[in-house]
């Protein structure tokens, strides 16, 4: 794999990063009224408003302001969160772990499940299993993740008492090491499965369509002609090529998963970025909201970068485009 390809890709995200900064800057300035007052919030003291004005250089011309904004973000300075009483980057650093854990676990679950469902559905197109998966995918597309989360809480936690209702770990027990790990996994199961189910539809459909397209190609006919069993043709030959579109949707899925995660966290009292967003929304803490949006947007851009590089890794043709 050429190093040049990776470097080209990494440099390619710079416009996107600037895009995020431009869009957020424009939105803040599109709001009628004084941006300093807006960012400080209605309840802020005049001193605080002045402080923000000075801090962001809001009394200077627009290009200067943008430069100040970019420089601050580049230093990792996202301002001070009034709703949390600490700097925004401290808040995010503290809370991003559980959100990443939840999204990561859901990504693993839905990848395995999506590939499996797609593979099984493609074995007999328009068969009973395929149609059931198709129907489930349609309903899955239509179901908001946070509502699915409430249904899961209602059924598995309230009704059956199988899973803990809320939270990240059991604070009544002071566990460490392996015990703590088991406890967190136990609390993680329900939110992660719900989040995974809310986006597994996409992957299962992409896998199925990819496989069916591959099955119509010449090399598949050759493989069949030399006497390979259907099973082997599917698993050994077609699946490998059908995985390409599966890699392309990875970036889209990360954006989807993180959006889903922050909303679902509210249902499970999962101590990630979701609760920070809810508090910031209630208290009109715009600086915190801005910082969160920046971090998430940058995260999704980096995820897309990895997708691109991974894509080049599995498909050599991409590198030479």
């Amino acid at each position: 794999m050429g190093l040049g390809y990776v470097v080209r890709r990494v440099l390619g995200i710079v416009p996107a990063l600037f895009g995020v900064l431009i869009v957020t800057f424009v939105i803040v300035h599109a709001v009628p009224g004084d941006p300093a007052q807006l960012l400080a919030g209605e309840a802020a003291t005049p001193e605080r408003v002045e402080e923000i004005r000075r801090d962001l250089g809001l009394d200077r011309p627009l290009p200067d302001q943008f430069a100040t904004y970019v420089a601050k973000v580049a230093r990792g300075d996202l301002g001070f969160s009034t709703s949390q009483g600490r700097p925004v980057n401290t808040v995010i650093a503290e809370r991003i772990g559980p959100t990443l854990l939840l999204s990561g676990a859901a990504l693993c679950i839905s990848t395995v499940l999506g590939l499996l469902l797609g593979l099984l559905a493609a074995r007999r197109p328009f068969g009973r299993f395929d149609l059931s998966v198709n129907l489930a995918a349609l309903v899955g597309y239509a179901t908001p993740a946070f509502w699915l989360a409430q249904l899961a809480v209602l059924f598995f936690a309230v009704r059956l008492g199988l899973f803990p209702l809320l939270g990240y770990s059991d604070i009544r027990k002071e566990l460490s090491g392996l015990g703590h790990l088991v406890d967190v996994t136990f609390h993680l199961t329900l939110p992660a499965v719900v989040l995974a189910l809310s986006e597994v539809a996409l992957l299962s459909r992409v896998t199925r369509t990819g496989l069916l397209q591959e099955l119509g190609r010449d090399y598949v006919r050759t493989a069949r002609a030399k006497g390979l069993a259907d099973e082997q043709v599917l698993n050994r030959h077609a699946l490998r090529n059908a995985l390409l579109p599966v890699v392309t949707v990875l970036g889209t899925r990360v954006g989807f998963l993180v959006s889903g995660a922050v909303v679902i966290e509210a249902v499970f009292s999962w101590p990630g970025l979701g609760s920070v967003i809810v508090t910031a929304a209630q208290q009109a803490d715009r600086i915190t909201m801005l910082g969160l949006v920046l971090v998430v947007a940058f995260g999704v851009i980096v995820a897309n970068l990895f997708t691109d590089i991974l894509y080049g890794l599995v498909d050599p043709r991409v590198r030479h485009r």
């Binding site: 895009g19 179901t143 946070f146 509502w147 409430q150 249904l151 809810v278 909201m289 949006v293």
Partner: protein, 294 residues
């Protein structure tokens, strides 16, 4: 499905009379169910004020399970949930109709102009499109709704101004493949101007694909609106399904109905639109794979 705006193949555009299209849609089970759901939701929303009383009335006993008096039960403040769900659907539909209109106009205009003019115009417009796509739409809306006043109008504007990018890319790709066709050359030779060519010759040929993309986008808008309302970032003076589910959160252990009915209403609305979109895709673009696969 954001990165796959490849040019879609157009089989002879299935235009013709409205009733012929209608027949072909309802002949398929998915189309019939989708149309039935969508039309019902549309009727319920249009006649919400006559079907259901003011959803903010607090004059009922609190936290009652579904009964003959209160078909969907009542919430913690004694609001009737049937009334609330009906008015919530109306809010969802209001938002989706306006957002779809705004994003369709922008998406068609940007996509057709970029694809038809090409060159610098194309590059600039596509850069702007990528700019909008660089932030996940949900978070962009979160930020905007926390900065602007939380009114229904602002919510519609925010979602409308951020929901056109996928359509623009699809339309651009289609226009690129159409603009070199002979009948476009012919029209130009007859002295037709750019605007006339785009309006009379390019857009009608894009319509089948655009219809499908637009209707699928509509169902995503409903889920976005519900998600924002669930986080408390929508117009508090309008009843909304997401707000109802948010309110149900604290009472999950006592009142399952507070969560189940509003959520089911969202599924009905979105499923109806999706089924209709899928069927339209089958009927209008027979050579194209299901859009939900892309």
């Amino acid at each position: 499905m954001s990165d796959t705006a490849e040019p879609l193949v157009i089989a002879a555009p299935a235009r013709g009379h409205g009733h012929a299209l209608f027949r072909r849609v309802v002949r398929r089970p998915a189309g019939a169910v989708g149309l039935l759901l969508t039309v019902s939701v549309g009727l319920v929303s249009s006649f919400a004020p006559t079907l259901a009383a003011d959803p903010f009335l607090l004059d009922n006993p609190a936290l009652r399970p579904p009964s003959a008096d209160h078909r969907f039960g009542t919430d913690n403040l004694g609001r009737d949930l049937f009334n609330a769900v009906v008015h919530g659907m109306r809010t969802s539909l209001t938002v989706v109709v306006w957002v779809t209109f705004i994003s369709a106009v922008i998406g068609l205009a940007v996509g057709a102009t970029a694809g038809y003019r090409g060159g610098l115009v194309d590059r600039v417009l596509m850069r702007v499109t990528e700019l909008f796509q660089s932030i996940p739409r949900f978070f962009l809306a979160l930020l905007a709704m926390s900065l602007f006043e939380r009114t229904l109008r602002n919510l519609i504007l925010v979602l409308g101004l951020t929901s056109w990018t996928f359509l623009a890319r699809v339309v651009r790709a289609e226009t690129l493949s159409i603009r070199t066709r002979e009948y476009i050359e012919g029209a130009r030779a007859c002295g037709a101007g750019d605007v006339r060519i785009i309006w009379r010759h390019v857009l009608p040929n894009i319509l089948p694909t655009a219809t499908v993309v637009i209707s699928l986008g509509a169902s995503r808008v409903i889920l976005l609106e519900a998600g924002l309302a669930f986080l408390g970032l929508s117009d508090q003076d309008r009843m909304s399904l997401g707000f109802l589910i948010n309110n149900a959160q604290q009472f999950l252990q006592q009142a399952w109905w507070m969560s189940v009915f509003p959520g089911a209403a969202i599924v009905v609305v979105v499923l109806g639109i999706n089924l209709l979109a899928d069927t339209l895709n089958d009927v209008l673009n027979p050579l194209v794979q299901h859009v939900t696969d892309a």
